[in-house]
Structure formats: C-alpha cells, structure tokens
C-alpha cells in the first residue's frame, strides 16, 4: 500500500522540474539541429546525445520512485474522464521519456554510426539495417512531435488546475510550498 500524501515527494518534484527543463531543451535542440547547416549543427548534436542519455537515466530513476512512492490521489471533484486522461497522460510521459532516447540510440546503431557520448563510445544496441533505421528514424521524429504536443496539453491542464479549478492538483507538483489549501484527499 503506497502512503497517501497531498503532494509529490520533494525528490519527485525535483525530478519533475529538472526533467521538464531537460526535455523541453531536448525538443528545441532536436528541431533546431535538423534545420541548420551552420556549425551550430555539430554543437547541438553534441548536446542532444548526452542530454538524451541523461533523460533516459533520470526517467528510469523517476519510474522507480513513482512505483515505490506513488502519487497523491486526484481530487474527488475531478470528473472521471478527466482523471482517466490524467492517468493516461502520465503513462504516455513515461513511455516517451524512456522510449525516445532508446529509439534515438537504436536509430544511430541501425545506421552504423559510432555512438560517442561525451567521449565515451556506447555499444550499438541494434544491428546495421536500413529497414530498422527508417522505422526508428520515422518513429523518433513523429514521437518527438507528439511529445511536444503532450507537453503543451500537460502545461495547459496544469495551468487550468492552478488558475481555474484551484483544486490542489498543480500544488501537488509545484516546486514551492503553497499557501493554497489543497483538496487532494480523494477519499473524503
């Protein structure tokens, strides 16, 4: 039985905001690097790869923390479809945070590029294959755009909770201590 709190634990909140910065930066770097031939291209690629590895590691840590520490219950005032959407979006976030870096690594492996991250030569995780490369390249691109759309939805929903519904959902993940009285006990 996971204990019930009104807010995510400090570790969970720290991971959330750190990863929010990393992932947003990652998506902007990704679309920026593929649209330029300037020397920035190489700089951006050299940030994109290690940042992907960092996000993968943080996501795996975060998954373990989530499974062991759980999440605060959603407010009883939230309609069921909204709760379902919230839970599905969290699932999608975990799949993308873990899946996108692995797809990127697999894509480079399938293209037979050496995967060198911060001077460390990582092993290929897939064999050299045009078919695999094409599949993963398309997936990396489409899923990254979906990730950005999901973040926009997540941000809009978070602000809706904070500014309109004021039901404590935003405060559960807010980095600061909030004066808003929360209404997060779903068993009330």
């Amino acid at each position: 039985m996971t204990p019930i709190h009104n807010r995510f634990t400090p570790l969970q909140r720290a991971l959330h905001w750190l990863m929010a910065i990393c992932i947003l930066a990652m998506l902007f770097i990704g679309v920026g690097m593929v649209s330029t031939v300037r020397p920035d291209y190489l700089t951006l690629v050299s940030i994109h790869k290690p940042l992907g590895v960092i996000i993968l590691v943080l996501a795996l840590i975060r998954l373990v923390v989530r499974l062991t520490r759980g999440a605060p219950p959603l407010p009883a005032s939230m309609p069921e479809p909204m709760k379902l959407a919230a839970r599905l979006s969290h699932l999608a976030f975990y799949l993308l945070m873990i899946g996108l870096p692995l797809i990127g690594w697999g894509m480079l492996s399938a293209a037979d590029y050496p995967v060198v991250v911060l001077g460390i030569h990582l092993p290929a995780i897939l064999p050299h294959s045009n078919a695999l490369h094409t599949l993963l390249w398309n997936a990396h691109r489409v899923l990254a755009l979906c990730f950005f759309a999901l973040i926009l939805l997540h941000l809009a929903a978070a602000l809706l909770h904070a500014l309109v519904r004021r039901d404590g959902v935003f405060e559960a993940m807010a980095p600061w201590r909030s004066s808003v009285k929360t209404d997060a006990s779903g068993d009330r």
Partner: protein, 353 residues
C-alpha cells in the same frame, strides 16, 4: 466542484492566459524548427538542390551517386602520433571500408562525363574509434562557404535567367579558379592514379594537448598518366570501376596519407584557399586497397561517410563545411536508406554491371 468559486471574467482571463502561454511555446518551437524562416539554409534545401531536373535517383546517394566499394587496410607508420593522439595514427594496421566515386547525382552517368572523382574512407581502430573522410581529386574547393555552394547549385539549375551562372561567377571569383583547374588539369583513366584531397581543415591534438590545423591528401603510388578527355569518352560508361577491379585483382593498390600542417595565419576556414607548397608535411602511413566490390551489395553502400565522424585527437576547425556536409549527408542517408526497394541488392555472384 470547484472549491473556490471564481467569477466568469477571471475564468476567461485565466483561459486567455493559458492560450497565450501555449501559443508562445508553439511559436518558439516553430521558429527554432525554421518553419517561420523560409530563408534559412537547411540541409534539406541543399539535398533537394542537388537533385537533377528529373528528380533524384532513388536509393542512391544524392551526390557522388556513382561509385564502387572496396576493403583494405590503413598501415600506419606512427609518424603522425606527434600531431594527433587518434588511435589510427599509432603504428599498426587498421581495417578500411571505402568507396571510389564520381561527383554526380546520376548513378548512370558515363565515367568520362564527370570531372571530379572522390575517395571515401572509414578507418576503424582497435578500440572501435572511427575516422570517416570523403575527399575529391580537386586541389581546392569551388566555393568558400556552404551558402555559396547552395547558391552555385541554384544558379546552375536556373533555366529562367541565362545570366544566373555568369552573375554567380562574377560574385564568387574563387569559382573561376576552380573552373581553370577543371579545364586544364589532366584526366587519368584510373581511380588508382588520382590524388584525393580532404580540402577541409581539421584540428589535430596530440597526447601533450598541442593543437595544429591540418589538411590531408591520399597520394597514389601509381604514376598518373594523362589521357585526353576525348579518348576517355570513347570508353565504356563504367570503365573506371572495371579498371580498378582489374588492377586490384592483379595487386593491391596503394596511397600515402600526407598530412599538411598549417603555418600560423594560414586560412583554415576557406577550402578554396590552398596552403603554400612549402608547408610541413608528414607521411602518416599507407592506404592499401585489397578488394573491390560492386556497390549494390557492397560494404560501403549503407555507410554515411560523414566527415565529422572523427576519433579523439581530431576535431573540426573554423571551416564551416564539415558541419554543413554532416547535416546534408544525414538527410541524403535518411532518404536513400528508406528507398532500399528502388536500389535492389544483388548478392555476391549475382552482381551484374
């Protein structure tokens, strides 16, 4: 149920604020992706501009489309260790996958019609570190910047303005220098007689941490024999592949890797500017080409010879081309590898040329 009732106006204000935040993020993302900047030179534009009027040859490289694979070794003599700590420069023999090629977007172009010939290499050291390079037989490049290269492609494809090329050449005098080379340099009848030049400058770092700007060339052991261009036109369309196959079957073909070290002040950012002949040269080893294979099922086919795949001890300089080439090669690679069905493989023995 909302636990703290809010007025309708403040709700509307909040919703507007949310919409603004989302729109600002979308706009920033679109700007970063270049969707709002049609003038930005993207790798996609360069690759599109390389396509002939009839469209690209699907499944093939978008430039240097015609070529033949080889395997061999780089026999390093250890002399370049003083310049770079790259593992491939330590004394020893390192496997090479490579490709002789012609600078054309048409994989069926007759060999005698293509002025510029190329050599691409992937050299792998024992620790798995790789050095990839793609060179040409011209002694300097045609234009000074990637932007000018794109301008050249556009001008040469411009059929509506008969003065497009003339105007471009007037604005880019270095192109005349290149045209003079193309018009006067002797042709040879063999890939084995060509000298291949890296043209771009790279920074080499040795074990002591000292940096030097370096360019490199692969100088053939075979003596170049000039053959009039008209005579080459009478030969078979694929005479170069036939010639190199025959030569390598008879004996391995060799090139010496010559590294040229810049003097302080030599131009490193502009590959149209060759360095003076008296610059320090280091012979780093010998490329030995020991087997030729047709490209369609050969080991070079699905390799991107990205010139920024470099081992430790080598990195890009202020020359803007390697980055631009890396970006454009990636687009070409992503496209052609998705078009496997348009360029069928003929497993060993079934190859027809």
């Amino acid at each position: 149920m909302v636990d703290r009732p809010t007025s309708n106006t403040s709700t509307v204000r909040s919703l507007l604020l949310i919409a603004v935040v989302v729109l600002v993020l979308v706009a920033a993302f679109a700007f970063t992706a270049g969707w709002l900047s049609p003038a930005r030179l993207t790798p996609t534009k360069i690759v599109n501009a390389l396509a002939p009027p009839g469209g690209p040859a699907l499944g093939f490289r978008r430039n240097h489309a015609k070529g033949v694979c080889f395997t061999g070794n780089f026999e390093s003599n250890g002399a370049a260790v003083a310049l770079s700590k790259a593992p491939v420069f330590a004394s020893g023999s390192y496997p090479v996958t490579g490709r002789f090629n012609l600078a054309t977007a048409d994989p069926k172009a007759p060999d005698a019609t293509v002025r510029v010939r190329g050599l691409s290499l992937r050299i792998v050291a024992a620790d798995g570190s790789e050095w990839r390079t793609a060179m040409i037989n011209a002694p300097f490049f045609a234009v000074a910047t990637p932007q000018a290269f794109y301008g050249l492609l556009q001008a040469s494809a411009n059929t509506s303005d008969p003065d497009a090329m003339k105007n471009f050449a007037a604005a880019h005098p270095e192109l005349g220098h290149f045209a003079a080379w193309a018009g006067s340099a002797p042709w040879t009848a063999s890939y084995a007689q060509e000298q291949y030049n890296g043209l771009n400058s790279f920074i080499f770092t040795n074990a002591a941490g000292q940096d030097e700007a370096v360019r490199w060339s692969f100088v053939p052991a075979a003596k170049p024999e000039a053959v009039p261009a008209d005579q080459l036109k009478a030969r078979a369309a694929d005479f170069l592949a036939a010639d190199i196959t025959q030569r390598v079957q008879a004996a391995p073909q060799q090139w010496t890797l010559v590294l040229t070290v810049a003097n302080p002040g030599d131009p490193t950012a502009d590959p149209t500017k060759a360095w003076p002949d008296d610059r320090r040269k280091v012979e780093a080893g010998t490329l030995v080409v020991s087997a030729i294979e047709p490209e369609d099922d050969g080991p070079c086919r699905d390799i991107n010879f990205d010139p920024t795949v470099l081992p430790p001890g080598m990195h890009v300089s202020d020359d803007p081309f390697p980055a631009a080439r890396s970006a454009a090669y990636a687009v070409s690679f992503d496209r052609r590898t998705a078009e496997d069905k348009d360029y069928p493989r003929h497993p060993a023995g079934g190859a027809t040329q």
